[in-house]
C-alpha cells in the first residue's frame, strides 16, 4: 500500500474497497455551457481538517447497501471513491463513527484544487445515485424499478 506520509490512514481499510460521499443537488447543477448537469469540485472539500464519507467495507460488514447512506437524506445523491485512488493522491481514510452513522469515516490529507478536481473526475464515473432534481421525469422508475 502506498505510504500516506503523516496523513492519518487506517491500513485495515482495504485498498480495493470504496468510500461513499453524499452529494447535494447544489453540487450537481446544470452547466450553462454544456446544458447538462455535472458535479462540481466543491463537493470534495474538507470541513475542518477532513472530508466526511461512509466506509464501504464497514457498510458491507454490517449488511448494508451503499444507498442506505442517503436513506435519511431524501433527494441527495451518492458517489463512490476507490480507497486505492485516494491513497494514490496522498490521502488517508480513517473510521470515525458518529451518532446515526456508525460507518462514518474521514478522508484526511490536503485537498488541493488539483486533488479536488481529480476526486470530481473519479466520482463522475462512479455514481451510485444521482441527486433528485426538479426536472426529473416523475414517470421515471426509481432504483427498485417501481
Amino acid at each position: 500500500m502506498p505510504e500516506a506520509g503523516d496523513v492519518p490512514d487506517d491500513a485495515s481499510i482495504p485498498d480495493e474497497s470504496a468510500v461513499y460521499r453524499r452529494i447535494t443537488l447544489e453540487w450537481y447543477k446544470v452547466d450553462p455551457s454544456m446544458g447538462d448537469r455535472r458535479l462540481t469540485t466543491a463537493a470534495f472539500s474538507d470541513l475542518g481538517d477532513a472530508m466526511s464519507v461512509a466506509i464501504g467495507v464497514d457498510l458491507e460488514a454490517g449488511g448494508h447497501e451503499p444507498a442506505e447512506v442517503v436513506a435519511n437524506h431524501p433527494g441527495y445523491g451518492l458517489v463512490a471513491l476507490p480507497v486505492d485512488e485516494l491513497r494514490r493522491l496522498g490521502l488517508g481514510v480513517v473510521r470515525s463513527a458518529i451518532d446515526g452513522e456508525v460507518c462514518h469515516g474521514d478522508v484526511y490529507g490536503k485537498k488541493t484544487r488539483s486533488t479536488k478536481k481529480k476526486l470530481r473526475d473519479l466520482a463522475e464515473q462512479r455514481w451510485i445515485l444521482k441527486p433528485a432534481s426538479p426536472d426529473d421525469d416523475p414517470e421515471q422508475p426509481d432504483a427498485d424499478g417501481e
Binding site: 453524499r22 447535494t24 453540487w27 470541513l47
Partner: protein, 181 residues
Amino acid sequence: MTAAIRDGRKLISEREWVASSHETSSAVTPTRGTTSEVPEKIFGSAFTPTPTRPDEVTIRVTPSAQARLERAFREMQSFAVLDAGWDSYGARLVQSDAILQTLRLLAVVFNTREDIADPMIVPTSEGGVQIEWDRDDVHLELEVRPSLEVDVYWERPDGETWEGPLQNSQPSLLRFLQRLD
C-alpha cells in the same frame, strides 16, 4: 443595478433590480484598448462593499451583461436561504458578503468577455461561492471565500495546472479568462 441583502442573510431583495441600462460600465473591452485602459481593480474599496445603505451594493454593468448578472444573482439567492448543514455534512451558512463579492467578480467577467459562457455557480461548505467553467477540457474555477479572498485554479488538457490567490486586478483576471479561449 443594485443588489441588496436584507436582515443579514435571509432575504435578498428582488425589487432592488431596477433596470438601469443607462448605467453603463466604465470597463473597457481589452480588444479595443490597451492594458492601461482596463480598470485596475476588480473590487473597489478593498474587499468591502461601497453601499449607499449598509446592506446593499451598486454594481455597474453594461446593458448586455445585466441579464446575465441578474440570472447569476437569482441563482445565488437560493444559496442565501440554505440552512446550516445544507450539504448533510455540517456546511456553514453561505455568507451574504461572499454572494455580493461574487456578483462584483461576475460583473467584471460579463462586462469584459461577452463571448464567455455563463459559469456554473455553487455554494461551498465553508460558506463561500465557487464559479466554474469546463470548456474543451480546460477547467477554470474561482472560489470566493467567506473572507472574500478569491482563489483561482485552472487546468489545461495537457495536465498543466495552476492554483493560487487572485490579485485584485482586472488584467490578472482577464489573463485567467483567456485560458478558456
